[in-house]
């Protein structure tokens, strides 16, 4: 069931009604059940991966927070991060990595046919894996307390409004809200429904309409003129913005109706006057995650290299951003290109 389906249009008001009728102490459980049903409705078999990552996250965070010895805490963090990352690496990158290996063996004279189909990717795995890692690092850094409620941790990783495409939420923003789930307020409902309406407009009336045109052009590039390709290329960023930006507004709206506040993902990105400013306004939750958990630790570790430490950290961060967006050399190149542009900006304006 997607948010743009007719099924959702009648299920959602009924759910809001039920949410407001149950006693406050059962609301977290109700949200978790709704989130799990939402997931099971789409992908019943790979639901198991969500349960596995949840268990790994909960017990790793428990271990890290109950150790006094820093070495044991670091060990717990490493095991937690690696074990939560393994399912993502396996499902998302297995075919990509296997084909790189096959191509390398081909150079050595060994003939193996490349893999043509990708594994079925568990829905939302790129998002809930990043949220799990963020939570573990926050517990390690003592920024967030270990959450003893298994239900809250499960809900944090599976909350149905954001599990499909984000925003990549933070434990520090969500656990407090899950503990205090009040009835929907009139203002919350009005604001939420307005956000949803605007989100549906962006998604259905702008993004999906532009996609019809752009898909047609990009699927037959060799038959198109230069001016047609230029127009399609200029329209594509608007399509992507309306798609993910509209989707985020729907997510924020649904959450608002439940009295829950979700971080925004966009802040008028096309008004940015530099590449670095653009990346502070575009897909904010992902960029903030990459900044906090990859760029900052890397650039801090390499701080004695001065500007070259910053450039190395930028290139690695955007390489990871590229590979996160998709398992192909096209995304790797895109990520490195962004890293290079930001490095140039950092170098010329140190």
């Amino acid at each position: 069931m997607s948010f743009t389906s007719f099924q959702f249009l009648w299920v959602f008001p009924l759910f809001i009604l039920l949410y407001n009728l149950v006693a406050e102490r059962y609301r977290t459980l109700l949200l978790l059940m709704a989130s799990y049903l939402f997931y099971l409705n789409m992908q019943p078999v790979l639901f198991i991966m969500l349960l596995v990552v949840t268990a790994l996250t909960y017990f790793s965070a428990h271990y890290i927070s109950h150790q006094d010895d820093e070495k044991k805490q670091i060990l717990g963090l490493r095991i937690g991060v690696i074990s939560t990352l393994l399912p993502l690496i396996f499902f998302k990158y297995f075919t990509f990595l296997a084909n790189i290996l096959i191509a390398s063996l081909h150079l050595c004279g060994l003939e193996i046919h490349p893999l043509t189909s990708n594994l079925v990717l568990p829905i939302g795995i790129s998002f809930y894996t990043f949220m799990a890692i963020g939570y573990l690092v926050d517990v390690f850094n003592e920024e967030v307390d270990f959450e003893p409620s298994y239900i809250s941790v499960s809900l944090f990783l599976s909350f149905f409004p954001y599990i499909l495409s984000g925003p990549i939420e933070r434990a520090g923003n969500m656990f407090g809200q899950f503990k205090n789930l009040k009835r929907s307020t009139w203002n919350g409902l009005v604001t939420g429904l307005k956000l949803m309406l605007w989100g549906y407009f962006m998604k259905l009336c702008i993004a999906d309409r532009l996609a019809l045109y752009n898909d047609l052009i990009f699927n037959s590039i060799s038959n198109r003129s230069g001016s047609t390709l230029t127009i399609a290329s200029l329209l594509y960023p608007i399509q992507v913005y309306a798609d993910l930006g509209g989707y985020t507004l729907i997510v924020m709206g649904i959450s608002n109706c439940l009295g829950i506040h979700i971080i925004p993902n966009f802040n008028r990105p096309f008004l940015a006057t530099s590449i670095s400013e653009f990346w502070r306004r575009w897909h904010i939750s992902l960029i903030k995650w990459l900044t906090d958990y990859i760029f900052t630790p890397l650039s801090f570790t390499l701080r004695s290299w001065k500007i070259w430490g910053v450039i190395t950290a930028l290139m690695l961060t955007f390489f990871i951003s590229g590979i996160w967006h998709g398992a192909s050399f096209c995304f790797v190149f895109w990520g490195l290109m962004q890293g290079a542009l930001l490095s140039f900006e950092a170098y010329t304006n140190p």
Binding site: N141, S276, S299, F300, G309, V310, P350
Partner: protein, 80 residues
């Protein structure tokens, strides 16, 4: 070192890194209050603080340095 003296030293360090003539800080100031203090300049500021005060921060301490007041607390703790 007194908190007042540390804050004055921080003002000159940050002004130098973000290339501003003058920076006014209070204990509650954050990176958002200073033009040019972003994730790119943050590490340069941290490295400059380490050099000027002769201290070393740990990676896990970075997450706690959200306000100028917390930076001062940590500098005093490290100098003790």
């Amino acid at each position: 070192m007194e908190r007042e003296a540390i804050i004055k030293k921080l003002q000159s360090i940050i002004a130098e890194v973000v290339k501003l003539e003058k920076v006014e800080l209070t204990e509650d100031s954050t990176a958002n209050d200073v033009k040019g203090w972003d994730s790119l300049s943050h590490i340069a500021i941290i490295a400059q603080i380490e050099e000027s005060f002769g201290i070393k921060f740990k990676l896990r301490e970075l997450a706690k340095l959200k306000k100028v007041g917390s930076i001062i607390d940590l500098i005093i703790k490290k100098q003790e």
